[in-house]
Symmetry: C2
Subunit: 214 residues, 2 copies
């Protein structure tokens, strides 16, 4: 499947850049998207391996599979603006709607239930899958980390699409893509990132999840 | 800590009986609670190892640590009725507010945010901890399963209480008790049980979680 090109909206952030780095290493053509084409190109240059940068709309139009890694603030508006170029494509939402205060992170309420369900609501012609919520940007970006020790939970209502995304997750060394349920159960997977942040703080770790007996 | 007695409200259900079985095996005095004292005694007899059965109110009064393993329907009313006997005690809520339909399990909305936060709201004088949501009753009850392969996420705002519950989880062979955040982040841990049910169905497994890098 390495012939599939991967576009990453918001690819200049740590999570997006970390994923771009790993997919480029695995041989996928990678397109970094940003509001600002120059910042996108700078991020692509920092990754190398043939990665290219462009405005989000160009990436949405060109890439075979598109990952949404933008901040929660602005998520809905961006996707509404990209409805046409994203039609027919697998769109992977990895956004975690979180708030932060002195006691750490907590899940924000989302009218549609979750970021992924919001994406599905505003992109009715796309095949929305939720995945890659719990990956540690620090580990993805660290060239010394050869294997990333976690399972990526992949949620969606389109079996072919979730199968494809599970296979995509598995190109990252150490990672498995594990089916995690329908899109209506995405909220708790997104929100669990708040718990991982608490765990990281308590144990000074870069915690991830493994699913046992699978 | 095996001198601490463990009471289990709703201990005649599979989850409660499974936990009772493992704690009794580890040497804890175990008290099974039920609305019906006779059914409680029958469950206790099926466990053996000195387990005793009684009405929920008697168990709430006698046990050192009380686990709430009742159905979500009736959770609030039962805890309100036990406010006095539960005062000052560690109360471990392991209830998962879930609905079921043809597409499987899904998380129910909870006014207080989560079952554990509801318990904390109606038991202001107790030390409420959320834990044991993801344990498989099948594995706990199977004498052939010597080690249970999962981490129990322990959530709460009282460090001494969460430390105690982490230690209690660890008496089950194979299990670790891992701090999982504050009570305000309990909803997604409870709701994630719906995802585990989806995973179990897809993979024909008894799935659990392990936290990596901890």
């Amino acid at each position: 499947m390495t012939e599939l090109s991967i576009g990453i909206l918001g690819g200049t952030g740590d999570q997006g850049k970390g994923l771009a780095h790993r997919f480029a290493q695995a041989g996928h053509p990678v397109l970094i998207g940003s509001r600002n084409a120059q910042r996108a190109q700078e991020a692509a240059d920092s990754i190398g391996l043939g990665a290219r940068g462009a405005e989000n709309a160009v990436v949405a139009a060109e890439a075979d599979i598109v990952i949404v890694a933008v901040p929660w603030d602005g998520h809905k508006e961006l996707l509404i603006s990209l409805r046409e170029p994203l039609a027919g494509k697998i769109v992977i939402d990895c956004v975690n709607p979180l708030g932060f205060d002195k006691q750490g992170a907590y899940a924000l309420p989302v009218e549609e239930g979750s970021a992924a369900q919001q994406a599905a609501a505003v992109l009715p012609d796309s095949r929305v899958v939720a995945a890659f919520h719990h990956v540690s940007a620090v580990l993805l970006l660290d060239p010394a980390v050869e294997k990333v020790d976690l399972d990526v939970l992949v949620l969606g209502d389109d079996r072919e699409a979730t199968d494809t995304v599970q296979a995509l997750a598995a190109v990252i060394p150490g990672v498995r893509g594990v089916y995690g349920g329908r899109l209506r159960n995405a909220h708790q997977v997104e929100a669990f990132t708040a718990n991982l942040i608490s765990i990281n703080r308590r144990y000074k770790a870069h915690a991830g999840l493994r699913v046992t007996d699978v």
